[in-house]
């Protein structure tokens, strides 16, 4: 029998019990829809993580000052200023694929007119903006003279602009930090939340020398030109791992560490952290899809169940077809096509339902979703495979009937 003829027979048989066919399909519809929604939500979450990686700036290394040991008590990372501005300069100079920006971090109350706001103070160099890929929205960056001469200038983040200045243009305004007046020379672009959820725009950036001497530092720090962190951007196309190792070796050499000694700094590869996060979100997406496919399998069992009932109900018809010359593969094909028709129609309806539900979720819950054509094709193919798998046993049962007994069946 040709496929077209089989399909016609199958559709007619399914039309006989419309409600039963629809309920059987419902299992597959829900299964496919669940897979599509879950994959869309999972892929959406993954896309969000990838976007955060791009926002942070990929290929970033973060060097933190090491731990200090005081009378046998080991304090945490950053408790000792083991890094200096000269380390950053050396990294930029010695390693061609690296651009380093030293940074001192602290907090302070910022005052403009009668408004005030507690924010993060970042003492760094103009390279910091390159390293973080953080352009200016207005104004200019620091000039070399302001860097060397501890100029009283600053850049402000968007949150600070909103909290302090409202609608006034901040460029050229005078703000006070710890009673020291600073001129705002530039405004940073919106950067958004960091991966950890902190507001990266809540920041005031000062020249590092100014920050050390006027706002954050002590005399001791000033002497060592110490910094708390060094950001390093790895050039595009360069292997982050290789540069990481070069930076490590350079710092160990500069800090005169013995071969067996521990690092007196902590080097973090942010791209790796991000990759780990991305991997975990991918695992999550896979897990969601796996859970959803369980419901597809349950739908398949429903098909098998109804096909077994159908074979029993139509035993006489099978006997008759055999008497008229139907071969084993004709009967097998007939019931297999019927099962696959059920699962395929269910699969297509499930795609429609799933896509609709995913878009609905995006609208109502405001989640990021990503409808993937691959998932749609896979879900339909999976539904097809389920039809074949769960339809085979009932179809084989039908094809193996003894024609004499089938014809006599009441």
């Amino acid at each position: 029998m040709s496929l077209g003829a089989l399909l016609k027979v199958a559709l007619r048989a399914l039309a006989v019990n419309k409600l039963r066919s629809a309920l059987t399909m419902l299992g597959i519809i829900i299964g496919v829809a669940a897979v599509i929604v879950m994959v869309a939500v999972g892929a959406g979450a993954q896309a969000r993580v990838e976007e955060q990686i791009r926002a942070l700036g990929s290929n970033l290394l973060l060097i933190l000052s090491g731990a200090r040991t005081q009378s046998g008590v080991r304090l945490g990372v950053g408790s000792n200023y083991t890094l200096s501005e000269d380390d950053a300069i050396a990294i930029s100079r010695e390693i061609p694929d690296a651009l380093a920006a030293p940074a001192l971090r602290g907090g302070a109350q910022v005052i403009w007119g009668n408004a005030n706001w507690a924010t993060q103070i970042y003492g760094t160099t103009p390279e910091y903006l390159d390293v973080r890929q953080w352009p200016l929205a207005a104004g200019r960056s620091f000039e070399p003279l302001e860097m060397t001469g501890a100029g009283k200038v600053c850049l402000v983040g968007q949150t600070v602009v909103r909290q302090l200045f409202g609608n006034t243009d901040p460029v050229g305004q005078l703000i006070r930090i710890k009673r020291v007046p600073f001129t705002v020379v530039g405004v940073l672009e919106n950067k958004g939340q960091s991966m950890m959820g902190t507001d990266q725009d809540d920041i005031v950036v000062l020249p590092i020398a100014t920050a050390r001497s006027r706002v954050l530092g002590t005399a001791n720090l000033a002497k060592q030109r110490a910094v708390s962190t060094i950001w390093v951007k790895v050039a595009d196309g360069a292997d982050t791992k290789v540069v990481e190792e070069q930076v490590r070796q350079l710092l160990r050499q500069r800090h005169r560490l013995q071969a067996g000694a521990e690092d007196d700094f902590s080097l973090r590869n942010l791209a790796e952290v991000m990759a780990a996060q991305e991997a975990s979100s991918r695992v999550l997406a896979l897990l969601l899809a796996a859970v959803a496919s369980v419901s597809l399998v349950v739908g398949g069992i429903g098909i098998m169940n109804i096909m077994l009932v159908s074979v029993t109900e139509r035993t006489r018809e099978i006997g008759l077809r055999m008497a008229l010359g139907a071969r084993t593969r004709d009967i097998l094909g007939q019931f297999l096509v019927e099962a696959v028709t059920l699962s395929l129609i269910g699969g297509l309806a499930g795609v429609a339902l799933g896509a609709g539900a995913a878009l609905g979720i995006a609208q109502i819950a405001g989640w990021r979703i990503a409808l993937s054509p691959v998932a749609v094709v896979l879900a339909v193919a999976f539904a097809f495979a389920i039809g074949v798998f769960f339809g085979y046993y009932p179809a084989r049962k039908a094809a193996r009937l003894n024609p004499v007994e089938a014809l006599r069946f009441e």
Binding site: A5, V16, L320, A323, T328
Partner: protein, 246 residues
């Protein structure tokens, strides 16, 4: 003398029910020539149905041999048997066995579908057969829209559509009233005159009187094989009835 159409030698069929072997057929040897019209009679359990199932290639004998047109079909199995049924044998059943929700035409086409005949050819041949049984005008009707007699005619058209050498009818008039039965028997006799070999299983002597030969079964054996020199003519009976009514 030419070979007979059907030749069986010591045909035995044993069913196993629980621990007991039931000899449904205990050694049957029969020759049937082309163009014969044969009634197979006997009470239930006499083995006549088993015999017909074997002749119809629906079942295989436990032992013995069965030659159909010189071919040893008792050795065939599965799809080869299916092909033999499709080509050589037309079945007519007591309860018609038409597919519901399927037009008369499509019912008649069904054997041709399994024979692999192209759709257009199939349709033409099915229409021709429906015309031959007098139902050309009902080709598009569903079985439930047809009377019992009409349904059996559709079933006969279906049995004939692959141009088989023999027609196996199992109680073909069992579900019909006496007048319709006569009409069906008249159709069978007409087809037989045109050359088809006819085997009718029945337990009614009324039906058997139309055959030219009668096989009687009891306990799995043929107990009588009689020629009927003067079979009744169903068409003549119908005409007499019509005259009496007028």
């Amino acid at each position: 003398m030419t070979d007979p159409l059907i030749r069986t030698r010591d045909l035995v069929k044993v069913y196993r029910v629980g621990d007991n072997d039931i000899h449904a057929l205990a050694g049957v040897s029969v020759d049937i020539a082309r163009g014969e019209s044969l009634a197979v009679m006997g009470p239930s359990g006499s083995g006549k149905s088993t015999f017909m199932n074997l002749l119809g290639c629906l079942d295989r004998p436990s032992s013995g041999e069965y030659l159909l047109g010189g071919q040893r079909v008792s050795e065939l199995a599965g799809d080869a048997l299916a092909a033999t049924r499709n080509r050589n044998i037309g079945f007519v059943f007591q309860n018609f066995n038409l597919l519901a929700r399927t037009s008369a035409l499509e019912n008649v086409e069904l054997p041709l579908v399994y024979a692999g005949v192209a759709a257009q050819d199939r349709r033409a041949r099915a229409l021709e057969m429906l015309a031959r049984v007098g139902l050309a005008a009902r080709a598009g009707h569903l079985p439930q829209q047809l009377s019992g007699g009409q349904q059996q005619r559709v079933a006969i058209a279906r049995a004939l559509v692959t141009r088989p050498v023999m027609l196996l009818a199992d109680e073909p008039t069992g579900a019909l009233d006496s007048r319709t039965s006569l009409e069906i028997m008249a159709l069978f006799q007409e087809l037989n005159r045109q050359g088809i070999t006819l085997l009718v299983v029945t337990h009614e002597a009324d039906v058997a009187r139309f055959a030219r030969r009668v096989l009687r079964f009891l306990d799995g054996k043929v107990i009588a094989d009689q020629a009927n020199a003067a079979p009744a003519d169903a068409q003549r009976l119908l005409e007499i009835e019509a005259a009496a009514a007028a």
